[in-house]
Amino acid sequence: MSRYFHVIAAVLWKDVRTELRTKEVFTSMVVFAALALLIFNFAFELRIPNKSLVVPGILWVTVAFAGVLGLGRAFIAEKDKGSLAGLLLAPVDRSAVYFGKMLANLIFILVVEILILPLITVFFNVPLITLPLLLILLLGTIGFAAVGTIFSALAVNTRAREVLLPVLLFPVLLPVLVAGIRTTIGLLEGDPLSDHLNWLQLIAFFDLLYLVVAFLTFDYVVEE
């Protein structure tokens, strides 16, 4: 069992180190997120009486779109450089490779979130950095990375790979996105988190479900 976690850690560390060297995925995600925020700002600034009405949507849409950008790269780079075959030939459990990749994606998206939360706070003057909100965002991002990682592996082997990923991903993620946005709206209206425990449970439940299904099906996706 400890060997299994060792593999996860090795894959994770490999991805983090590659990213630290190239900063390819990360830069594009952050710049994209910042651009999206600016465009949203232009789109809503003059019309909305209360900015906290639109901020939940802006937050989740920005995270989702920036996230899908990063997820797409996760396997494309591996595939193009030919390192995916090496990774899969390694005599280790492939689900460990999945979890390593998934954790790497999770970390990348979380870092982007940490950067854009202050930006949204500044641009829209809405206090977003609260513990309940961070918790919701974390749970939502886990689900996002869980499905995103396996779909990224799916999409990379298809013809229209970069176009296909969001089309595959967003409808499947709907429960998590809806629950995340609903809870964020509630929290910004000043409800305590305990009012939204059912949504919280829903996200946690789907996170678990996605992880289990991905664990069970990842082998079929990378099988040649």
């Binding site: 396996i150 298809t158 013809r159 229209a160 595959l168 499947v172 709907l174 429960p175 079929y220």
Partner: protein
């Protein structure tokens, strides 16, 4: 391949059942009395709308189960089942959305509203459109079947959300199957409602059986074509047990 007797009987039953269900819904069922007279005719959409929605869910369940079976057994049959059911599911989803929209115009005074039930159901439609987009983006048949199966499993995870959405959210969509509310239908209406649901289920089974048969035939035509392109003659195949003309029970 000749149509089997079972399929012919099934087709016959459907041909009789569908007009009967239409008769029950449009003629036999009484008018709804607890709504304003102008929308009473529109209320009869329920005998088609709910069965369409139910059948679409059933079809997606078949896709889900067939996808799992494909991944477990690697048999072409289950991939064919999965994609045929997904196709039929999309058709019934569209039927439910369109019939609902026709009802919504007199009842809600709008064709469409971003109600949770409508929204989640539309997302379900998109899920299975994405399923076919994924299929069409992969050339190699084995991989296509495998990937589609994985997606078929994931796609179904959010289908129950649609079903539960009218219970969890504040929504204007009526709850029909509420055990505490006794259907919200009168006795005569309940009979037509149940017959409608049974008929649509039969219709689904019939469409499925025909669609699967068609798909088998086209798979075999493709196999024959490949064989001929590779220079074999039909005569080469006919003597052998492995002929693509053999029984489709692969």
């Amino acid at each position: 391949m000749k149509m089997s007797r079972a399929l012919a009987i099934l087709n016959g039953i459907t041909v009789v059942a569908v007009p009967f269900a239409i008769y029950m819904a449009l003629v036999q069922a009484p008018d709804a009395i607890n709504i304003v007279p102008e929308i009473r005719p529109a209320q009869r959409i329920i005998y088609f709308h709910v069965p369409s929605a139910w059948t679409s869910m059933l079809a997606f369940l078949v896709t889900f189960v067939s996808s799992i079976l494909y991944l477990r057994t690697n048999k072409l049959r289950w991939d064919i089942w999965a994609r045929c059911a997904a196709e039929i599911g999309i058709a019934f989803t569209l039927a439910a959305i369109i019939s609902g929209s026709i009802w919504a115009k007199p009842a809600w005074n709008t064709w469409w509203t971003w109600d949770p039930r409508l929204t989640t159901y539309t997302i379900v439609l998109l899920l299975y459109v994405a399923y076919f987009m994924l299929r069409s983006a992969i050339d190699e048949p084995g991989r296509r079947a495998r990937f589609a199966s994985v997606y078929g499993v994931f796609a179904f995870l959010s289908v129950p959300i649609t079903f539960m959405s009218i219970r969890w959210w504040k929504t204007i969509h009526p709850v029909i199957l509420d055990p505490t509310a006794d259907f919200g239908l009168g006795p005569g209406m309940t009979v037509a409602f149940i017959i409608g649901n049974i008929t649509f289920t039969i219709l689904f089974v019939t469409l499925m059986a025909n669609r699967v048969r068609l798909e088998w035939l086209s798979e075999r035509v493709a196999a024959l074509h490949d064989a001929l392109v590779e220079g074999d003659t039909l005569a080469d195949w006919q003597g052998e047990g492995v002929s693509p003309l053999a029984s489709p029970q692969a």
